[in-house]
């Protein structure tokens, strides 16, 4: 393997190198072939899982820093700048604080639900990382139902919110839990409809295929450029996704001014930290899905020659979307419950239903046009 191709595609090359070394090592030891397959599968799986489990919290830590810095600037403040240069060590200090704080469990809570809720909140989000493509060929699992899997994992967040709300035996938590559930159920529908548009355009539910279909126009054939359906779908997706993960302006479940902290009122220490982790990782996942299906994920100019660029493109687009959500947070006030429900059911759902029908008709005409062209040629 030459050095240049290693630099151009570092992570996939490193993976292949470890994989091949391990296989040849086991072969020289005389292990039977079916055991080699299992051992290699387990070891490589363990490596990939470990990398994801390290990358996810580190990402979350620096997204919190980014949020605090960006929102501070929008509000004419400076933001954290005491721990390390530009406050770069602030997330680590926060982490240590979370881990060392006393975990207070109020007497009246429902033990099982209260204990399990933060865990149930984090697991689906981390599982979502398995099917995200961080660069060319840099997905842990090539699931041919990737997008459906991501939607399913997203829908599981409601259970955790319910468990926290009910388990706390606290009226604020309960109201927060109910609000969250109503909101997540309502906004899941426009979100899935919006994801359906790129699926229709690509003709596949596989995240990998959807990204590959956007390779036209020198790596710029992104689905958001399919005017008019692309921008409409993206806009609806962004709003619905922001509501789905309970971010401002849709953060009614944890509205401080009305509900103390909503469903996580009774949580402290690392359990609260886990809810925090889930919230920020959700923001990353939602932005990563948006970047992948509307902005081409790792697609971009020269990505075929230098695959390492794909990682830069992917993270650039994802962080741009995160920045838009922070911008929402910095500038839009919270909605009322009735406004929220009306907006979801009376605006977003009909708009998306219309867009889906329009896209289907457009695609049908497009195929018919191609067919008739073929008929003329043959």
């Amino acid at each position: 393997m030459d050095i240049l191709s290693f630099i151009f595609n570092p992570f996939v090359s490193a993976y292949n190198l470890v994989h091949d070394t391990l296989t040849s090592l086991l072969q020289s030891l005389g292990v039977p072939p079916d055991w080699i397959a299992i051992i290699v599968f387990l070891v490589m799986g363990l490596i990939v899982v470990t990398v994801i489990l390290i990358v996810a919290p580190v990402l979350m830590m620096y997204i919190t820093l980014m949020e605090r810095k960006v929102v501070a600037r929008m509000q004419d403040r400076i933001g954290p700048n005491r721990v390390g240069k530009f406050g770069l060590l602030q997330p680590i200090a926060d982490m240590i604080k979370f881990l060392t704080k006393e975990d207070i469990v109020p007497q009246g809570v429902d033990g099982v639900s209260h204990f399990l809720a933060p865990i149930v909140a984090v697991i689906p989000v981390v599982m979502s990382f398995a099917v995200i493509y961080f660069g060319v060929g840099m997905g842990a699992v090539d699931l041919n139902l990737g997008l459906l899997f991501l939607m399913a994992m997203g829908s599981m967040a409601t259970i955790a919110v319910f468990m926290a709300g009910f388990g706390s035996h606290n009226k604020f938590a309960l109201i927060g839990g109910m609000r969250a559930a109503a909101q997540i159920i309502s906004y899941e529908i426009p979100q899935i409809f919006a994801v359906l548009i790129p699926v229709m355009l690509a003709g596949s539910i596989s995240l990998n295929r959807v990204i590959e279909q956007q390779s036209g126009l020198f790596g710029l054939g992104w689905f958001i450029l399919y005017i008019p359906v692309g921008p409409i779908a993206f806009f609806v997706y962004l709003l619905a996704a922001t509501a789905e993960i309970n971010r401002v302006p849709f953060d009614l479940p944890e509205a401080e001014s009305e509900l103390v902290a909503g469903y996580h009122t009774e949580y402290s220490g690392m359990k609260f930290g886990l809810f925090y982790l889930a919230e920020f990782l959700n923001m990353f996942i939602v932005s990563a899905i948006g970047a992948s299906i509307f902005f081409g994920g790792w697609q971009g100019p020269f990505v075929q020659q230098i695959p390492a660029l794909g990682i830069l493109y992917f993270f650039g687009k994802t962080f741009l979307l995160i920045l838009i959500q922070l911008w929402f947070r910095g500038s839009i006030p919270r909605l009322r419950v009735d406004q929220l429900m009306n907006f979801g059911w009376k605006r977003l759902v009909p708009v998306m239903l219309g867009t889906i029908m329009f896209t289907a008709v457009l695609l049908w005409f497009y195929r018919w046009f191609l067919e008739s062209l073929k008929g003329l040629g043959g």
């Binding site: 041919n144 939607m151 319910f162």
Partner: protein, 167 residues
Amino acid sequence: MDATTVIAQAVFIIVATLTLIAAFLTVLVRNVFHAALALVGTFFGVAAIYLMLEAEFLAIVQVLVYIGAIAVLILFAVMLTRGLMQRDTISFNRQWAWAALVISTLFLGLFILILQVPWLQTPGTAIYTDLTPWLGTQLLTTYLLPFEIVSALLLAALVGAFIIARE
């Protein structure tokens, strides 16, 4: 028996045991909310078994529909209707003997039926192609009528629920 089969068997036994435990908890636990959570666990176990049978689409739809929608609705209903601070409910009532009789008869019937089916004894070939487009096409061609009837039924239920809620 080669190594892969042994591991697959072991994983199946673990998953099936966990699913059964969750299913038993669903009926035996005295707290309705906990019973609903155990039901979520059961659904998840069934999804895992679908996954082991390489029915990925079914597994993911199981999570999306049964956990993401139906279980959430059940939890919602529990939270709205029950007095929340009153914790326990009685899981047995006077008719439990009759219920047990009917259920065990049904179980036995199904069990005998399953034993009588001539299952394919040769190891089936795994289907690695993406079945989702095929499923979609079949739903809108061969099985169009049942599909449309189900949609009409769901619409009727939705309108009915709406009218009841308004009164």
